[in-house]
Symmetry: C2
């Protein structure tokens, strides 16, 4: 579990691929950090969760489902898919539901790649995607982020150009993007979809779609055999701990997941909660308002501290600390020690930023104080 | 989703392995059967769930966790593993937790096998294991069940003998066994563990261990690098719809799962529920008593109908219908039409049986009536 731990593998028991992998997961949880550093986090602003919580209707539906959870959930997720289809304006056959987008990524690698196949993403993009690429023996090519201070974002042109040259099995692109919070106009995404080789599956990660400007999202009617759009209840819906993600695509493409998925994996409670959450548009819109206000406040806090907040279309703000990765890492460590959980990207040029999820007024005040103290400690 | 459906695969988009697989999952859920046949099931006795339900403490803990489920669950499952370790008398490092045993089987295939590797089980054993074998491109060899009427069970000697000859990467054996309900003495399992090649991982499925006689279970201190014991909260704990399973083994063996697992996959709600369930031993023992009594009643119902109930160490009874697979399938279809959900194994010689999960007195009365009517329809 420890990052970078070495393992005395059993050469005879596990596959050559498994023996080559580290026994580590992409994210160390805040609970593990608390145990490791002996701190208690007063504010939890590192995992892009929604402190504003799930819909009370979803909470009630999950509590009710808990009492009935002696029974397996519907492996076809019939009602949830119907509700999602109605919500999105697609057919149920265009949707596959899984244990979070993370779970779906693992399955996608399983059905789309063979060992040694090439996959493409931006360098420093979502680590869990890269984790599943490695776990299935595929090879990850990357394109650097476009670093035009203060903006920083995926280099869509370079992704397309590289894909046309290397013809990868999968091309990962997120919009809005994590960890930068930036977004690109839908025209650019549509151009990418048109220009990428048709044998490349476009993995369009739209985890933050509910928070994105309309100008970022291609119309839902844009369906191609090689396009899968991934969305989730973890972000704006405030249900990260429930584990419901889904992919939207052409029916024949979506059906591939049925070949390998953990068919009872989306729990009875998760299905009930997601359906109730979908029905509570009032909670969603009030959450979005709170996220937008908190994002503005976070940007102010960064500016007050002499740092540069990047524009964000998500529930977090990437803050450019203006110096190198070592400085940002030292700042992160100091803030953690102050009892505020945040994260930062690990790879240059992204590693000059810290990434702070929005929170309540109290959370943000705790962050502001921790930032102030930590910068002072570092001589700023 | 439909069993046996054909798919117009995209030759260029998905892997050769995926293109060779049917878009079907191992079990059609009762909800799907209701939709398909236009019936409403008055009794749900087909999925080896526990109608006696989860512990009220677990239900309360899950309801409480639902309200906090804006936050991801602990990806290290630290507290749950500690609780399990205490319960079992092992170390936390000897446990890996996943989205049901089903989820862990998928991960095991991922880390233990390469495409074309051989795997061994009994013919007609747990279909979800075979599903994950196929999904990872491994090849399943099988040994027939030992058919000594009225008893029917896995042929342990033949499994060992075959494993010594074919040296498979995995050997699947369940004790107690599904779908027969039979069990073998722990001496036989210990002998199997001693005799199987040391490069073969023994997949000992103990989903029904909480219902098994002590004589069936090797001591928990029996640890080998090539032994993994799988257990679950889905059966005696009545939490099938929650999705918590775990594997017990040597620390280095168990750690392999950390290389590929969906690290946030066991939800916050599931972790809280499982811990609370573990703490309520009173509910567990009263559930076991109710299961045993209902099992006895089910056997009486079978005998009253002139059929032969097999001895069971599980929460279901396999009933030998005394004729061939066609007769059992016709009987199953008639019972489903009567509004009672049960299942049956698909492969001879097991397919002369129907498999009925225990239920409440009312459930069992509904089954008895449906059985009576259905046998009369079939001219018995």
């Amino acid at each position: 579990m420890t990052a970078g731990s070495t393992t005395l593998d059993k050469p005879l028991l596990f596959s050559p691929l498994a023996r080559s992998l580290p026994a580590t997961v992409p994210f160390v949880g805040p609970e593990a950090l608390e145990r490791r550093f002996g701190v208690h986090f007063k504010a939890r602003l590192g995992a892009n969760e929604s402190v504003f919580g799930p819909s009370p209707k979803a909470v009630a539906a999950m509590a009710e489902a808990a009492a009935k959870s002696w029974a397996y959930g519907d492996p076809e997720q019939f009602e949830l898919k119907a509700a999602l289809a109605g919500h999105l304006g697609v057919k149920a056959a265009n949707i596959t539901v899984g244990e979070g987008i993370d779970g779906l990524f693992g399955l996608l690698l399983q059905v789309a790649t063979s060992s040694g196949d090439r996959v493409l993403s931006s360098k420093g993009a979502y680590p869990t995607f890269a984790y599943h690429v490695a776990g299935h023996g595929a090879l990850l090519d990357t394109v650097p982020y476009r670093d035009a201070r203060p903006a920083i974002g995926q280099d869509i042109d370079a992704l397309v150009e590289t894909a046309r040259r290397t013809r990868p099995k999968l091309l990962y692109v997120s919009n809005p993007d994590n960890p930068t919070g930036s977004w690109v106009a839908k025209d650019l995404i549509e151009q990418l979809i048109a220009d990428v080789p048709e044998e490349t599956i476009i993995v369009l990660d739209e985890a933050y779609s509910d928070l994105a400007p309309a100008a970022a999202l291609p119309d839902i009617s844009l369906v191609r055999p090689n396009l899968l759009r991934f969305r989730t209840f973890s972000k704006a819906y405030g249900m990260a701990g429930v584990r419901v993600g889904y992919a939207i695509g052409e029916a024949d493409t979506v059906r591939q997941f049925d070949k390998v998925r953990n068919h009872f994996g989306v729990s009875r409670i998760a299905q009930a909660g997601a359906m109730a959450a979908l029905s509570d548009s009032g909670h969603l819109s009030s959450t979005i308002s709170r996220i937008v206000a908190a994002r503005d406040r976070l940007s102010e806090i960064a500016l007050e501290a002499g740092l540069v907040p990047l524009p964000s279309a998500t529930n977090f703000v990437a803050i450019d600390c203006g110096r190198d990765g070592d400085f940002a890492r030292a700042l992160l460590a100091a803030i953690l020690q102050e009892g505020v959980f945040i994260r930062m990207p690990g790879i240059a040029p992204l590693d000059r930023m810290i990434r702070v999820t929005v929170g309540t007024d109290e959370d943000l005040a705790l962050f502001a104080a921790a930032l102030h103290t930590s910068l002072a400690q570092l001589g700023r």
